[in-house]
Each structure stands twice: as C-alpha cells, then as structure tokens.
C-alpha cells in the first residue's frame, strides 16, 4: 500500500507508477462483462496504456471527472477468480491484494457484473467483497437483461452484498451518472461499507471454496433474480452451426479470408500515402538544406537545436527520463551531428532519420486495420468460437486453438500477430507462439519474393507462382516445426487442455474497436519506433562511413559511363557495411552468396525489404531503379563471379529465397518481441535461432541444388 514510487528502474525506463496521493478507481470483473466498454465510456478515448515495472501486461488508465475532483480509473484485465492462472489475471489479483510493486491498492473498486448472467459473476464478486475494500457494484448490460425479461431486485441484492449496486448500461450510457455519484460517495466515506460480513458460507468452510461460493451465488441469484427459460436461445442456435467440427473451421477460415481481403485492399491506400508523404518530406528536407556555404556558427546552432529536439521527442516517446547519462548522450550525439559536413547531414536526415521513421510508420495501417477487425470479432464473442474449432488442429503442434489467430495475423505482419498472442492464457504457449510468428510470410517479404521469383523464372509465370506458394508453405512448415521443437526442448510442457467460456453473441462496439486501434498503434509507434530510429541511424552510418577518398571517387567516375551510380556503388563497397560483406564472404560462400549479396543481407537486417534497393546500389544500378524490377533483374542476371560463372544461378536464387523466408531481418518485430516478453533475452533468442535455421536451410538448398546440377 505504501510502496514508494521509483523514479526509474535499472534500465532507465520510466516506470510510470500511480502518482502518490492521487485517487484511483479500479475496474474489475469477469471477462465478457462489458467492462472495457464501460471504461471507454467513462474515460472517453483519451485513455492511455501504462507500463508497470516487471510486468508485461498492459493496464489502460484514464481520467474521470467527479464532483470530488479528477480521479484515475484503471481497467484491469478480466478474471474469473482471484485464483489467477494467466499473467494478466495474476496482475489483477495481485493489484487487488496490494502485492503489485509500485501500485497502491485502489481507493475504490468498481466491480463490474454482467446482469444477464449474474450467478456466474457473483463468484468473483464474493471473492472481491471478501477483501473488504471500498466497493461499488456496477450491474452492467442492464438494458440487455431487461430486454431478455430478466428481473433483478436491485435493492435486495444491494442489501445482500452489503454494498451499493448500480444498474448501468455501458453501451447506452444509462446509469453512468448514478455510478459516478456512487463512487464519489464511497470515496468521501459517506457509506458504511462492509462493516459486517456479506456472507458466511465461506467462513469455516473446509471443503472446496469454489463449491461454497457457487452455492452462495446460486442462493443469492435465486432470491433476487428471475431468469426466463428462453435465456440464451439465440446464441445456442448460432453455435449449432459455428462450432460444428468441419463447418465451424470452414466458417472461421471464410471470416478470416474476408478480414485479410479487407486488410490488403484497405491498407494499400494509407501505405502508399505514408510512402509518398515520407518521400515528400525527405525531398523537402533535402531542398531546405542550403547547398552553398553557410555561417558555421549558425549551422552548428541550428543543427544542434534540431538534434536535441529529436532526442527530446524520442525520449518522451520511449519513456526515457532525462538523467545525467541520457542527457550527456543526447548532447554528445547532437554535437557530433552538428559537426558533420553538410552533405553527410543531408544524407543522415533524409536516408537515416526520415527513411527510418517512414520504414516504421509504413507498418501502421496494417496493424491498425488488423486490430480493428480483431477487436470487432473479439467483442462479438466470435473469437472464442474460433479458438474452440481450431483447438484440435493446433494441438498437433502442442499449441492451443487461441494461437491460430495470431498465426494468421502474422501473414499480414508479425507485429500485430505478436501483440495478439496475449489472448493465450498460458505463458509458455504464448512465448512459443511469439517466437515462431516471424517465420510466417509477412507482406514485407513480398517484394523480396517477387524479385527472386522474377530472377529464377521470368519466362514462366507458373513456375514463379510456384515459388511464391513454396515460400509460404516453407514459412508455415518452419513455424509449426519450430513450435513443435520448442515445446519439446527449452519450453517443454504438456499442451494445456481447453477450458473456454463461449460468451453470448452480441453486437460489437465500434468505440471499443477505435480505442483498441489507438492503443495498439500508439504502443507500436512509441516502443518500436524509437528503437528502430536508433538502429536505422546506426545502419546508415555503417553504410556511409568511412567515406570513399576523393581520388577514388574521381577514378570511379572516369572509368564508368553512369557516374552517380558507380560512385554510390564504390562508396558502399568502401564503407563498413561493404567491408563486412567482404569479411563474411567465406561464411556465406557455401550458400552461394557473393560479397555483394552479403552487403544486402547486412543492410536488410532492420527491414528485409531493403535487400532489393541495396542489391540495386551494390550492383551499380542506382537506388531509384530498384523500383523498375525488369532493369534490376536483368542486371542481376548479367553478374558474373571472378571466375566468369554467373552469380545468380538457380541454386543461388533458391538459396537466397530460403534464407529470406527463414531469417529474422526485421527490427520492429524484435522490438515488439522484447516488449511482449519483457526482456531482450527472447528477442535475441528469436534472432539467433531464426538466423541459424536460415543459414542451415540455405546451405542445404544451395549444396543440394548444385549437386543435382540445378
């Protein structure tokens, strides 16, 4: 309760605990009670996700205006019992008992109960009321209960529970004013709460406490609630179709196909917009930087100010506080940047910073659209059916049915897939799912597949299509195989047998979907964006320095017809990235890669689609012609090894394809893995095992193709 606020933890992350002295209200309830809808209705869409030290669970926090002032409301993950099983439930349970570090016990608990199924909800209620904290019961979905002809004697129930019971409807807003007033009264201590036991059945109970609580729930319900016999008929009727073993799977796959069609058809518009917007900003920035000489003092001041501005924004987004170390780092980097020659600064700003940020934001449309639909499906109650029908199929690899939606989502982008994996209750199963998700073919791999398919079979569209299908199948097979292996080695454990509530179907809330999209989108940009910006600047530096000496530049220009392209080619070869490519040549030679391909592998470390433009530069075509696939493929095909044999044989092509199907090569994903697993350890493990698998598989591919004379 009196846990002291930490300024920051060891890693320098702001821990963002509840401010001491501020009043907090906790929303607690079973899953599927409309608790989040109530939270969104109370706080509006201004709520934000808060991080707490040591937990990877997101808690959404918002503000609500009461007559006693502005108070904090925290939306805790839903749970069935304080006997918590999943990491999310454990957070809620430990927060209620005051065992969550940095989080004092809330001043008021708003216990959200579903009026359409009170008996079930009363089990958690009895546990929470036993804690004897100031509690207000919000009887949610009261309108739906009324429509279903369920009659609840609210004042009798209130007497029974010994606390205020407020009928509300989060959907229509009915009763919210009364709820606010009740919270206010409880805060000001006007109500005598829980001065006596609300029940006696669990006291002295030696047997199963659950049985006692269910007995109590039943007796309370029987005394206060009148439920008609027709309750739940509609859901039963729909489920008779949607949970059939085969029909259910077909129905689910059709739903997901429709969602994916919408994602790919809708996302391309904002993605093109993002792409051209960042292109325009880059071009504008390029024009803005003076070409001629400027006053060094003025230049230094302007660039220093700009750099510090970037650091301030980045630190704020990543939640890094200004300490002596972080401040010194910012100033040091800003000074170095300010001392760069104008040309280098231009390149840093346009290619490193604007390009790097653009590379992150481009993922945003897909993430947002996917989460929009996932939220709608979740809210409607359908997601539980999807997990139910996929359960048996997924058990073959030892994962629960709930892992299927994340795996499907990963075919658009691994990031929303990893974020969606938190529906999996069991931590080990969740971790396995997160670790294998990036093997599935995401949309960023498509430009790479397109290039290689054209390289291999430009004359045969059918064979090129087979390459695509083969790449997808390889990704799926590798993911399932890796999951199977992980479940038998380092994350050993029996499959967790299914127990899942299939909630009543209801019309999903658009407001919840929008709130989810804002929430997930912000988390992605803040957390992944800042790390990626840092790494893309580092990669820019590696591909830029050391600079080609001026005499060599002249030589390169005189010897070649297309001057600019060959300078870029020579400069890249001379840089750290180029040298590293040559250095690792012995390692990648058995895969059929020459040093130029190695450079592309290195520079595409942060984002695999970069491989196309790097190959364009390193083979001297120029970055801009990367868009013109035919030119690129033609040029690549003409390349010869020192001994005169062509570089891009079929064997090299297949090897490169297999490598890019299996290699990690995506920094945003790594950042999200770190966030969801709570440590860099698993992100590094993911990188290492995927790279090793990619290397071995590409090696086997190249060697067997060569041996077979392909």
């Amino acid at each position: 309760m009196t846990e002291v606020c930490h300024e920051s933890d060891a890693s320098g992350q702001l821990t963002d605990p509840v401010r001491p002295g501020s009043i907090t209200v906790a929303l607690v309830g079973n899953p599927n009670t409309g608790k989040t809808t109530l939270f969104n209705k109370l706080t509006g869409l201004r709520a934000r996700t808060a991080n707490f030290p040591g937990i990877t669970v997101d808690l959404r926090r918002g503000r609500v205006e009461l007559s006693s002032g502005l108070i904090d409301v925290v939306d805790f993950p839903g749970l069935y019992s304080l006997n918590a099983v999943s990491p999310e439930e454990k957070v809620t349970a430990s927060a209620l008992t005051g065992e969550l570090p940095g989080m004092p016990v809330s001043d008021v608990i708003v216990l959200v109960l579903d009026a359409t199924n009170l008996e079930r909800n009363l089990v958690l209620a009895s546990e929470v009321l036993d804690l004897r904290l100031p509690t207000v019961v919000a009887l949610n979905q009261f309108d739906a209960a009324r429509a279903a002809d369920i009659k609840i004697d609210v004042s009798k129930l209130s007497d029974e529970l010994k606390c205020q019971v407020v009928p509300v409807s989060a959907r229509t807003g009915e009763g919210l004013d009364t709820l606010r007033a009740a919270v206010d009264e409880t805060l000001s201590g006007k109500l005598s709460i829980l001065s006596q036991d609300h029940q006696s059945c669990t006291v002295g109970c030696t047997g199963c406490t659950f049985a006692a609580r269910f007995d109590w729930a039943e007796s309370v319900t029987n005394a206060n609630v009148d439920v008609p016999a027709t309750q739940g008929r509609r859901t039963d009727a729909i489920d008779r179709v949607l949970t059939r073993p085969i029909v259910g799977v077909v129905a689910f796959l059709s739903v997901m196909l429709a969602v994916f069609y919408l994602i790919f058809s809708l996302a391309s518009i904002p993605m093109d917009l993002v792409d051209s917007a960042f292109g325009a900003v880059g071009a504008y920035a390029e024009r803005l930087i003076p070409a001629g000489p400027v006053s060094p003092g003025l230049w230094f001041g302007a660039v220093f100010g700009l750099s510090m501005g970037f650091f301030a924004a980045g630190y704020a987004a990543a939640g890094i506080s200004w300490s002596r170390t972080s401040g010194a780092a910012a100033i040091a980097v800003a000074i170095v940047v300010s001392l760069l020659p104008v040309e280098d600064f231009r390149s840093l700003l346009v290619d490193g910073v604007i390009g790097g940020v653009g590379g992150v934001v481009i993922f945003l449309p897909q993430i947002c659209i996917l989460f929009f639909f996932i939220s709608l499906l979740e809210d409607s109650g359908y997601m539980a059916r999807a997990a139910f029908v996929m359960e048996r199929l997924m058990q073959f690899v030892g994962l629960p049915g709930k892992a299927f939606v994340p795996m499907l989502s990963a075919h658009a982008c691994a990031i929303p897939g990893i974020m969606a994996a938190r529906v999996i209750e069991n931590w080990r199963d969740r971790l396995v799912t997160i670790l294998v998700l990036p093997l599935l073919t995401c949309s960023a791999r498509l430009p790479v597949y397109t290039m290689i398919a054209a390289l291999l079979f430009s004359d045969s569209p059918f064979n090129a299509a087979l390459v695509f299908v083969g790449a997808y199948v390889l990704g799926i097979a590798a993911a399932l195989f890796s999951a199977w292996c992980l479940k038998r080695t380092i994350l050993r454990g029996d499959p967790i047998p299914l127990v899942i509530e299939l909630p009543a179907y209801r019309v999903p809330s658009l407001r919840n979907a929008v709130a989810t999209v804002i929430d997930r989108g912000t988390v992605f940009v803040r957390q992944a964006g800042t790390v990626i910006l840092l790494i893309s600047v580092i990669l820019w530096a590696l591909a830029t320095y050391p600079k080609l000496p001026v005499s060599d530049t002249a030589q390169a220009v005189s010897g070649q017809s297309s001057a600019e392209e060959s300078v870029a080619q020579e400069a890249l070869a001379y840089s750290f990235a180029g040298r590293a490519g040559q250095l690792v040549e012995p390692i990648f030679r058995p895969l059929g890669f020459d040093w130029k391909i190695n450079v592309a592998v290195i520079t595409s470390f942060a984002a695999r689609e970069v491989v196309v433009s790097t190959l364009a530069i390193v083979y001297g075509i120029g970055e801009d012609s990367a868009a013109d696939e035919a030119t690129l493929v033609e040029t690549l095909r003409r390349q010869n090894r020192p001994d005169g044999s062509p570089v891009f044989t079929k064997a090299t092509g297949f090897s490169l394809l297999v490598f890019f199907v299996l290699a990690m090569q995506c920094l945003p994903t790594q950042a999200v893995t770190k966030r969801e697993t709570g440590s860099w350890k698993w992100a590094v493990f993911q990188l290492v095992y995927m790279s090793a698998m990619a290397y071995v598989a590409a090696l086997v591919t190249f060697q067997s193709c060569t041996a077979l004379g392909i």
């Binding site: 079930r120 659950f210 729930a217 489920d239 299914l498 509530e501």
Partner: protein, 91 residues
Amino acid sequence: MSQTTLSGAASGTYRCIDVAGKGEQVIRLKRMGICSGRRISVVQTGDPMILRVVGARVGLSRELAGTVIVESNGVNADRGSSVSRNGDNRD
C-alpha cells in the same frame, strides 16, 4: 443415478460430484463452474465438447472432461439430434 466422467457423457443434464484433476487445471475448471454441486448440461459432444454451466456456455477438451465426475440426473436427459450428428457418443 450412475456416476461417470463427462468425457463419455451424452447430451443431457448432470450433477457434478467431483473434479479429480490436479493443480492449475482444477482451478481452471472450478472457476468456470465445473465444480461439485453444479448442474452441468452437455450441449454438444465431441472433442472439444460444449457444456452449459452456471448460465454460460463453456468449451471443454475431452481430456479435461475425463477428470470431471458427474452423476446423471435421470431427468432432462435430452438425447437430441446433436448427439447422433456428431457420432461421438462413446460410453
């Protein structure tokens, strides 16, 4: 009034006698209402199966259903069409 486990139960209504599993799995069952004293209706057989218990529908794997000991009420045993369609009506 014969005792059986849920894994072999046909559609119909039962009363839960005991949950024989161990550890976390028992908690996962009990907090869902699959707990001694509750009335459990088998709505759809198969693996996983669907139950109605304490006002909600619950999906349950056959493996866990095997740890749930129930007794038949003798009444309400609705041996309806869903059983025969599933063809999963093992003893």
